[in-house]
C-alpha cells in the first residue's frame, strides 16, 4: 500500500534522463457529437479534428482556445468521460485499451485525474471536506479507516489549507472559491496520480486568488513530478504556468511548442490574432485586429479545409480545400499553415 508520495525516486528520474518519458500520447484524435436528426440520419458535429500531442512526465502543457475550440472535449476524452470517435491514445507507451485490459479502468482513473472549472459545482454540498478526500483514498485502497484520517490531513496541508483538521470538518459552502479549488486538487492528489487534467481551474476564481492556485500546481509539478494538462482561454496564464503551449481553433490544433516561442513569436495567423486581442494596460485606443470579423463555424465530419480560412488575412485558395500538414518552424515550435 503506497501511503506516501515517494519524492526521492521522482527527482532522481528527472535528473537522470534528458527528455522525460512520454506519459500520454495522442495521435490523430477525432471526436464527433450527434446533433439532432433529419430523415432518420443523424447529423454530426466534429468537436475535435485530427489532434496530436504528447504529454511528458513532470511537464505542463497548456491547451489554449476560445469557446468551441474543443479544448475541454479533449480532456474529457482522456479522462474517459467521452469515447473517442477515432485516433490513438497511448498511456505509458501502451495503447489505452490494452492498458485498461491489463490493469483495469480503476487503475487508469487513479493515474489520470481531473479538476474542473466550477469550484461551486465540483464539491457535493451535502458532504464534508473529509468525505470528499477520504472517498478516493478508500476506493483506491490507499489507506484503511485508521490511516485515512492522517492522510486526509496531510493532503489538506499539502494544498495549503491550514488548519487541516478544522478544514476537514467543514462543508463546501463554508469555504471560499479558492479554498474549494484547493480541496478539488487535494482530492485529485489523494490517489497519487501521474497526470492531472485541469479544465479552466482558475477562470471562475477571484483574480487575486488565481495565482495561488497556479503556483500550487507549479509546485506539484516541480516537486512531485506530476504532469499537467492546463486548459484555458487565457494565453497569459498559459505562458506563466506551462512550458509547452498548444493553440486550438474549432477543434483543430493550429500551433504548438515551447510556450515562449508560441507566445512571443507566434507564426500562425490565429495565434497572432489571439495575442493581438489580449488587453494589456499601457496600450490605449483602438487596436485593429488583423483578421476579418467572423463567426466561429460549425465543423462537420465532411467539412474540408482550414477552419480559419474564412477570416484569415493570408488565406490562399488551397486553404479552403484541405487542412495543412505539420510544419516545423523552429526547435520545439510547430504550426499547420500553408502560408507561413
Amino acid at each position: 500500500m503506497n501511503a506516501t508520495l515517494d519524492t526521492t525516486t521522482v527527482e532522481a528520474t528527472v535528473e537522470a534522463t534528458d527528455t522525460p518519458e512520454v506519459i500520454l500520447s495522442i495521435k490523430n484524435l477525432v471526436k464527433d457529437f450527434p446533433i439532432g436528426q433529419s430523415n432518420n440520419k443523424k447529423n454530426f458535429m466534429r468537436a475535435v479534428n485530427d489532434v496530436s500531442f504528447d504529454l511528458r512526465k513532470g511537464e505542463a502543457l497548456a491547451i489554449v482556445g476560445e469557446s468551441g475550440s474543443g479544448k475541454s472535449t479533449g480532456a474529457r476524452i482522456l479522462s474517459r468521460i467521452y469515447e473517442k470517435t477515432s485516433g490513438d491514445i497511448s498511456f505509458k507507451g501502451q495503447p489505452l485499451q490494452e492498458y485498461i485490459k491489463e490493469n483495469g479502468s480503476l487503475e487508469y482513473a487513479r493515474q489520470v485525474q481531473m479538476i474542473f472549472q466550477d469550484p461551486f459545482g465540483s464539491l457535493n454540498p451535502v458532504h464534508s471536506i473529509y468525505h470528499h478526500i477520504a472517498r478516493p483514498l478508500l476506493i483506491h485502497k490507499r489507506g484503511d479507516k485508521v490511516t485515512v484520517k492522517k492522510l486526509v490531513h496531510e493532503l489538506l496541508e499539502l494544498v495549503g489549507l491550514f488548519p487541516a483538521a478544522e478544514t476537514a470538518e467543514k462543508f463546501p459552502h463554508e469555504l471560499s472559491g479558492g479554498q474549494r479549488q484547493r480541496v478539488a486538487i487535494a482530492r485529485a492528489l489523494a490517489v497519487d496520480p501521474e497526470v492531472i487534467l485541469a479544465d479552466e481551474p482558475i477562470s471562475m476564481l477571484d483574480v487575486s486568488v488565481r495565482l495561488g492556485i497556479l503556483n500550487l500546481m507549479a509546485d506539484l509539478r516541480d516537486k512531485h513530478g506530476i504532469s499537467f494538462m492546463y486548459i484555458t482561454h487565457d494565453i497569459a496564464t498559459a505562458r506563466y504556468f506551462a512550458e509547452k503551449t498548444a493553440v486550438m481553433y474549432v477543434g483543430h490544433m493550429v500551433e504548438w511548442g515551447n510556450s515562449d516561442k508560441v507566445t512571443q513569436t507566434p507564426k500562425h495567423p490565429y495565434t497572432q490574432l489571439l495575442l493581438s486581442a489580449v488587453p494589456e494596460a499601457g496600450n490605449s485606443g483602438r487596436r485593429e485586429l488583423g483578421a476579418k470579423k467572423g463567426e466561429i463555424p460549425l465543423w462537420r465530419p465532411d467539412t474540408k479545409g482550414c477552419p480559419f480560412a474564412s477570416r484569415c488575412p493570408r488565406a490562399l485558395d488551397k486553404c479552403s480545400d484541405s487542412f495543412p500538414e505539420v510544419t516545423q518552424v523552429a526547435e520545439d515550435h510547430f504550426i499547420r499553415c500553408f502560408n507561413i
Binding site: 476560445e66 471560499s176 495565482l211 495561488g212 506563466y240 507566445t263 466561429i296
Partner: protein, 322 residues
C-alpha cells in the same frame, strides 16, 4: 465641481440578511465628468456592482441605500419622484449588464425589445421606432435583418452588441457597463471594445466601466477607482494607478495578472481569501491580507487622502511615507 456629470457623495448601501447587516458600499464619493470613462475595479464582494445599481436606483429589498446622495447634473437621483425617475432612467443613464442572456428576454425578438424601449420613453409611432431600431443595430455592426431574431439565435458577441444598442437607444449621457465583456471570448471582446471607442467618439457619452480585469481597464479608462470590501481605496488617472499604485491592494491586484510580454517571474497575487462582509476586521478592511500591515491598521480605518492632483488613496502607510 458643478461641471461633473455625476457626483456620488458619501454613498452607503447595506444588505439586510438573516445573519446580520452587510455594508456593501461604505461611504463612497466620486465624480464622473462628461465624456470621461471611469473604471471601477475590484473583485467579487467589493461593492462595485452594488454601486452601479445604486446610481440607477435599481436596488430592491433586502438592499437599502442608507446614506448619501447621487447627484446627476445637480439633481439627487435618490429623492426623485417616480415620474422623474422614469425620465431619468434610460434617457440620461442606461445600463449594460454582465451577461446579455440575463438582460434579454428569451421569448421576444430583438426588434421588439429595441422598439419597446424606444416607445416606452418617447412619443413616437412603432414604425418610426422600428426605423430607429434598424439604425441602432447598424451602429453596433449588426444587419437590420436581425430584428426578427430571437436571442438564442445569436452568438454571445452579437447578443452583447444588441444590449449595447438598447443602451444607446435614447442617447444617454452616461452608460454604466457592469462587466460587459467578461463572458466573451477575447477576440470578440476586442471587437466590441473597438466599437465602443468609435461610439464614444461619435456620441460623446461618459462610461462607468466596472470590471475585475485591470489590464482591460488600463486600456480604456481615463481614470480608475479601486474598491475593496465596500471601500473606495484608490482613485486617480489610469496610467498612474497602473504604473505607480499607492495602495497595497492595488499593487497586489496588478501583480495578479501575468503579462504576455513581460519577464517570466513568479507572481504571488494576494494572500488569503476575499473578506466576508458580515465579519469585517477591526480597522482597515484589508488588514488581514496586507503585506504592509502595521499596528494602526488593525484599529483605525484609513480615510481617502489626496496624494496629488486628482489622485487619492486610503492607507495608513502612505500617510507615514509622505
Amino acid at each position: 465641481m458643478s461641471k461633473a456629470l455625476l457626483e456620488i457623495k458619501n454613498l452607503c448601501v447595506d444588505y439586510v440578511s438573516p445573519n446580520g447587516i452587510a455594508r456593501a458600499v461604505n461611504n463612497v464619493s466620486l465624480e464622473i465628468a462628461p465624456g470621461e470613462t471611469l473604471g471601477i475595479a475590484g473583485e467579487s464582494g467589493c461593492g462595485k456592482s452594488t454601486l452601479a445599481f445604486a446610481i440607477a436606483r435599481l436596488h430592491k429589498s433586502p438592499a437599502l441605500i442608507s446614506e448619501g446622495k447621487v447627484l446627476y447634473e445637480g439633481r439627487d437621483v435618490l429623492t426623485m419622484s417616480e415620474k422623474e425617475l422614469r425620465a431619468f432612467r434610460w434617457n440620461d443613464v442606461s445600463v449594460v449588464f454582465q451577461s446579455a442572456m440575463n438582460s434579454l428576454n428569451p421569448v421576444i425578438t430583438i426588434g421588439e425589445q429595441l422598439t419597446d424601449v424606444i416607445v416606452a420613453h418617447k412619443r413616437i409611432t412603432y414604425k418610426e421606432a422600428t426605423l430607429k431600431a434598424v439604425e441602432l443595430l447598424a451602429i453596433v455592426g449588426l444587419h437590420g435583418d436581425r430584428l426578427g431574431s430571437f436571442p438564442h439565435q445569436l452568438s454571445g458577441g452579437m447578443r452583447q452588441r444588441v444590449v449595447i444598442a438598447i443602451a444607446l437607444a435614447l442617447e444617454p449621457k452616461l452608460i454604466i457597463m457592469d462587466e460587459p465583456t467578461t463572458a466573451l471570448d477575447v477576440v470578440v471582446e476586442r471587437e466590441i471594445l473597438n466599437e465602443l471607442y468609435d461610439l464614444k467618439e461619435k456620441f460623446g457619452f461618459s462610461i462607468l466601466f466596472i470590471s475585475h480585469d485591470l489590464s482591460l481597464m488600463g486600456e480604456i479608462a481615463d481614470r480608475i477607482g479601486v474598491m475593496y470590501a465596500g471601500n473606495l481605496i484608490e482613485i486617480g488617472d489610469a496610467k498612474t494607478v497602473f504604473s505607480n499604485p499607492s495602495h497595497p491592494y492595488t499593487k497586489g491586484l496588478i501583480a495578479s495578472f501575468p503579462t504576455i510580454h513581460g519577464p517570466k517571474v513568479r507572481l504571488y497575487g494576494i494572500p488569503g481569501d476575499p473578506v466576508n462582509l458580515l465579519r469585517l476586521p477591526k480597522g482597515c478592511n484589508f488588514s488581514t491580507r496586507c503585506t504592509e500591515c502595521v499596528d494602526i491598521c488593525k484599529t483605525d480605518e484609513p480615510a481617502l487622502i489626496d496624494l496629488h492632483l486628482d489622485y487619492q488613496a486610503a492607507c495608513h502607510q502612505i500617510v507615514r511615507n509622505k
